[in-house]
Symmetry: C2
Amino acid sequence: MGTNTLMPDMTDMEFREALAKVGDWIANYRKRVGELPVLAQTAPGRIERALPQQAPVQGEPLESWLRDLDELILPGITHWNHPGFMAYFGITASAPGILGELVSGMFNVNGMLWKTSPALVELEQVVMRWYAAAMGLPADWFGMITDTASTSTLVALAAAREAAGLNIREDGLSGKPPLVLYCSQEAHSSVDKAGLVLGVGTKGIRHIPSDDLFRMRCDALREAIERDLREERRPFAVVASVGTTSVTAVDPVPEIARICRHYGLWLHVDAAYAGTASIAPEFRWALEGCDQADSLVTNPHKWLFTPIDCSALFTRRPEVFRNAFSLIPEYLRTGAQGVVDLMDYSFQLGRRFRALKLWFVFRYFGTDGIAARIREHVRLAGELAGWVDAHPQLERLAPVNFSVVCFRVHPRGMDDEVELERLNSTVIEKVNAGGEIFISHTKIRGKYSIRVAIGNLQTTKDRVRRAFELICAAGGIWIGGGIGGRTQCC
Amino acid sequence: MGTNTLMPDMTDMEFREALAKVGDWIANYRKRVGELPVLAQTAPGRIERALPQQAPVQGEPLESWLRDLDELILPGITHWNHPGFMAYFGITASAPGILGELVSGMFNVNGMLWKTSPALVELEQVVMRWYAAAMGLPADWFGMITDTASTSTLVALAAAREAAGLNIREDGLSGKPPLVLYCSQEAHSSVDKAGLVLGVGTKGIRHIPSDDLFRMRCDALREAIERDLREERRPFAVVASVGTTSVTAVDPVPEIARICRHYGLWLHVDAAYAGTASIAPEFRWALEGCDQADSLVTNPHKWLFTPIDCSALFTRRPEVFRNAFSLIPEYLRTGAQGVVDLMDYSFQLGRRFRALKLWFVFRYFGTDGIAARIREHVRLAGELAGWVDAHPQLERLAPVNFSVVCFRVHPRGMDDEVELERLNSTVIEKVNAGGEIFISHTKIRGKYSIRVAIGNLQTTKDRVRRAFELICAAGGIWIGGGIGGRTQCC
């Protein structure tokens, strides 16, 4: 440590010792995470107040940061890698994924150009093809990795805007007809945010009503497009969802693709969560028609056991992305021919070596292993749905397409929505306060719903059953339909 | 491994063993990286062709991925963490930074909301304050971490567009006056890309001429703004550069800030590379006037020894970012009061725990240690510049403000620019082919320039001297002004 120019960073020996200590720390964490309270045990501002106001002037030994990690940081972590994490979408930093993250941290390469890291660029291309093929998507699509689905969707819709042929790259949007973007009312907020960034504005974003199964209604989509055309607005893209965030609904992509073809609109598919499910052949149906899309996003950091961040953006029209984004300053010209320079396909210049961790995940699990684990998560969700359905005072509020179950406690005779919301939000609060599981909520056609999402590799049937029992207990209802048919009292 | 539901991921024992192996692999890599050829030794497509076309169906043991890492990936890596890496900007994944990356990979938390990881959100706030204070920037600015400066600048300019008061969030840009954005002709391409994404268009991006020291000319800026106003366009933002990519010039921020105030424009400062230098008090001058900016970006993954990606975005107007981006779907409502939900300040919903590695870097080095290392890099660049200046057949093409030296081989009597470009590009090719160092180029007022950037913690004076000698040798010129005054023949 210190300022000695002969010792600019840890020595080899120091680094190995530090790595062993930190490695031991994370292995211990991994082993005991299931016993920690899943939701952070802290109050707003507590960590901020506990830390010094200024950075240390002199360096401090590893032991002091590890102590702070234990004493200050750990209590403030909401443990996404916990088997009881069933909020939002359950995710996993699997062992091979963590190892990949470690190696890419060490390499510290920036894949802006082929030349600045050929291995990054080529491995990314290969792993994206593996991933596409494993999901049954066209293997000749161009794939690239971004940080999050928000970025993937923004980049895809920027390409869609370019594809509208209005010369927006040069002229900007001023003086152009108002652009319109379509998605279902169930679509993820990242679609709206992309619309804001791209200058479409909230007035140019149509949330098309969904049907009884929460799928975009194609008749309503057609009507909306026709109306916008009549009123001299300019439709340019439709975002279809495969696995909506709230209830994991799957839009009718084949029909939406036909509509897009008819009107000349870009079709972007948001399969951030459910795309990966198609690695198991029985879920291939979910991506039906997606081979007709112009672009598609799916997130390995959601259901493919890869540490955050890792979002896969596929397109059959990479040249449109280049048209939208390519802009090469002199200091980045390389003269390399026939290679992919990833910076040409996005607004982001720098990018880290994310393909490595995804490659390790594929190598460790294999596609059969991945499919088996996804199948198991869906099976667990199915069991939970079964217990819910068997219980007279629980009401399921949406179909279980994958590994998310939406339902509520609904005592006989309680029919006021305000009262039901109060009851169910209290149930969630109570359950989450217990620390064994963490669940979140959504609203479905105005009904406040408990939402249980299964996706962590360490989540077992016992843990799911426990979640069910805790919910029943917090709701003050009998625990019905038990394992092996037992019926217990709360 | 395999599909056994009882073993969903590596066991504790397997994980510890794998971690020890991979840890050993990366420690060995770190030790020997300086002996590897810095530029990848591969040909386009070689890695792609060497890998299977499909993902493995069954999982494979760690040994097989590590073998591929050695045999396939390593030769395709351009080693950014190499002491001879002097292209673009020299960077370092320091030991504490790598350890931080490992821990955050394990935690795998997503900091979209305070509730989804209080420690991530609060540590990020604290570390951003540490960083701002260490650079002498206002400690009460709001700071957040993004992936890259491209994103930081895009987000900042989206806020700037919102601040124009044209109701763009709702209406979009259609029907609004053409927006105009200003930066110097030396500004980074990310400014142009942000302009494209935001719908400003290339016609709305003004590249203001620079003076003899490559700084934005304020008279030209004023004229451009006046012209745009006369022609009924709508200026909305100026991007000033502190440390341009090509020659590390510093725009006259105090004067630019006055202009921005006068015309009511948002001032965004791109200090991606040079901002960090201000941790050493003698470089505080570089950020003079930046306390008047609306937003500022600087990248710890450039000169603060933090593995890519880590970009720091500061603003004194966080409420404008919220106005531009906040949009909270039901499933993300938490009811938490008085907390920062980072998703409200950007288009990105998900975000990983990047503050951890930056925290470790501050803890290990301390601000004095960071300043000493930056000082050493600048000193090394100064030595190189001295050797260049002392050599009659080398011509320096820009001032050395920080750690980047721009110069060319300029033999007596050779005055044709085409010939000089051919010579110098050949010099770079030859030097880079040797594998000991990797340098890049730029163009300065039409002159093709060699560009040597120092920024890796392991770069020593001997390595810089070696770079100098290799350049002289490749240029077929005498090696003048040697260490200790020696003069050698190539």
